[in-house]
């Protein structure tokens, strides 16, 4: 399968699913409500915590907003598998698989759509955060968005792999919450893990999103050349490569 074919097929598949998203604007808006609610109803509480030991330096918004961004990417991308299960059921997946379409494009086209949607939501979220009082350097915010992109691609790919394996909403949904909720709590999205007791901090260091959240926080503070940013970038890249490889393998398998 030639590279050019994969690229043009990815564009076609991306177009199909982007149009699908644009048709169901309600879903896009609802995807944003949860992080916006966190921002509005939980953020103001945190601003009172500034200066508490372990909260880290920097303004409370600079600590909180990166966490909400990662949460958006994590949850938004984790649920994309439901769309694939719908397509498996309606026969769309098999219909597309009998065409000469690049198998990799069937994955990448979808993932690209998911990423674009999440970045758009992240931009709206950042706008709201600035309105509420976030102040962060533009470069830091851009780095934060890059992390969102990396996470969205990785988590969406993994969600598709899981959807392909389970093939039913009934099996997929509980598996999803069993995986995402602990990962979210352990990443220190709501409160920095610097506040955690030693054992919790240690467990947290075994999960990938911890590093991404810490890195995004450092970037929002303007501390680019830090170990946190380096570790976060490394974890994100490894996660990205592994997830896309798993996804591509799953979509290329003869019996998918």
């Amino acid at each position: 399968m030639s590279m050019a074919r994969t690229v043009s097929d990815t564009r076609l598949i991306f177009g199909r699913y982007l149009r699908q998203t644009l048709r169901s604007k309600v879903a896009v808006v609802f995807g944003l409500t949860q992080p916006l609610l966190y921002l509005l109803l939980f953020g103001p509480l945190l601003t009172r915590l500034g200066g508490v030991r372990g909260f880290g330096s920097g303004d409370a918004w600079q600590v909180f907003v990166p966490g909400v961004l990662v949460q958006l990417a994590l949850f938004g991308a984790a649920f994309v598998g439901f769309g694939l299960i719908g397509d498996l059921r309606s026969g769309v997946v098999e219909r597309l698989r009998v065409t000469p379409v690049s198998r990799t494009a069937l994955l990448l086209g979808r993932v690209l759509r998911d990423t674009v949607v999440l970045v758009a939501q992240a931009v709206v979220l950042l706008g709201a955060a600035f309105a509420l009082g976030l102040r962060a350097p533009a470069a830091g915010v851009a780095v934060g968005l890059l992390f969102v992109v990396g996470l969205a691609v990785s988590v969406a790919s993994l969600s598709y792999v899981l959807a392909m394996r389970t093939r039913s909403e009934d099996a997929f949904a509980p598996l999803l919450s069993a995986v995402t909720l602990p990962l979210m709590l352990l990443s220190g999205i709501l409160l920095p893990m610097g506040l955690a007791p030693g054992w919790l901090d240690a467990v947290s260091r075994c999960t990938p999103f911890r590093y991404v959240v810490d890195a995004a926080r450092a970037a929002f503070r303007g501390d680019y050349a830090t170990a946190a940013v380096g570790e976060g970038a490394l974890v994100t890249v490894v996660l990205l490569v592994v997830s896309v490889a798993l996804g591509a393998r799953r979509f290329r398998a003869e019996n998918a």
Partner: protein, 338 residues
């Protein structure tokens, strides 16, 4: 176009292993329309999904559209079109978008003209912006078919293409399938439950039951293989005391007590005839199964004449595919499918 040897597929479920297809051999020549006939669960769809690269066989080999199924599935896909039994459209996606994407993925030149032509041929006259959820069942089926045909494949797999179509649309599709074969030399492999469809459309039939092919041949050959033709004799009632009473099989003593009725006389005269396989008397009607009925008919009438039986009418019917199905599987297709 299709050459399959020992194709088999089993599924492992919680309740054990299901052998959906057990070692199917089949060959389909270019330009043929071959029908795959069988009751529910016989393994038709499973076979088609294997041949269209959607399902890996557990055993066996196949060459489809000139490419090896295992070694070059991408090559197979370039040569084929497939209309799945359950269709393959997203209810929320507009008709026009589905067709356009399919045509682009196949690299169809002059997409718009081709799509317009196809919609006209299949009488799919709905606005392109309408989502397929808002189509009638038959319209959706025709959309599925259009999606499978858009790139003018050399080899077309149709899995129960006419389920849900009204008689006019069915006839229309048959005509289109025939004209694709006649004009473009398209090879068609279709599954069906409908005997009239298999009879009217297919050059050759394969009958599958419980995962194995149990009979194959042209519709005429298959029908010739079973029992024979059915001759129905209606006896004249003139001078008779009335129907000889009730239903009676060949051995029924129903009319033995009454004075030898015309029906009984007819039956005993015919029983000696070498071409008659079976004779059944129902009232004044005698139903005969006759080998080579067309040729034997005159002889039958003559021997009835000799026995002094007066006939009101004679009719000759060829066996149907349902009779064939009954003969090879021991079940009626309608019962099996129920």
């Amino acid at each position: 176009m299709i050459e399959a040897r020992g194709l088999a597929r089993s599924f492992t479920t919680r309740h054990g292993t299901v052998e959906a297809v057990r070692g199917v051999d089949l060959s389909v020549a270019a330009g043929e329309i071959v029908g795959f006939l069988g009751p529910n669960g016989a393994g038709k769809t499973t076979t088609v999904r294997m041949l269209t690269t959607l399902l890996a066989p557990t055993a066996g080999t196949a060459t489809v559209a000139g490419c090896d199924l295992r070694a070059d599935p991408a090559g197979v896909r370039r040569g084929i079109g497939h209309v799945a039994q359950g269709g393959g459209t997203d209810p929320s996606v507009p008709v026009g978008e589905e067709l356009d994407l399919q045509a682009r993925l196949h690299g169809v030149p002059d997409r718009r003209a081709r799509i317009a032509e196809l919609c006209e041929l299949l009488e799919l006259t709905v606005p392109a912006s309408r989502p397929s959820a808002a189509l009638s069942g038959g319209q959706r089926r025709r959309l599925d078919i259009a999606l499978g045909l858009v790139h003018r494949p050399r080899l077309l797999f149709l899995d129960e293409p006419t389920t849900g179509l009204d008689p006019q649309s069915r006839g229309n599709l048959w005509e289109h399938v025939r004209s694709m074969r006649d004009r473009d030399g398209t090879t068609v492999f279709l599954t069906t439950h409908y005997l009239d469809e298999a009879d009217a459309l297919c050059d050759r039939l394969l009958i599958i039951d419980r995962g194995g092919i149990v009979a194959r041949g042209t519709p005429a050959e298959l029908k010739r293989r079973v029992a024979g033709d059915v001759v129905t004799l209606e006896l004249s009632g003139a001078g008779e005391p009335g129907p000889a009473g009730g239903e009676g099989a060949a051995s029924s003593p129903a009319s033995a007590a009454s004075p030898a009725s015309a029906a009984e006389r007819a039956r005993s005269a015919l029983a000696r005839h070498p071409a008659v396989r079976e004779a059944t008397v129902t009232g004044r009607t005698v139903r005969l199964t006759v080998q080579d009925g067309e040729r034997e008919l005159m002889g039958l009438v003559r021997s009835l004449d000799a026995a002094g039986v007066v006939l009101a009418s004679v009719s000759l019917a060829r066996p149907t595919l349902d009779d064939v199905f009954l003969a090879v599987t021991g079940r009626s297709l309608r019962d099996a499918a129920a």
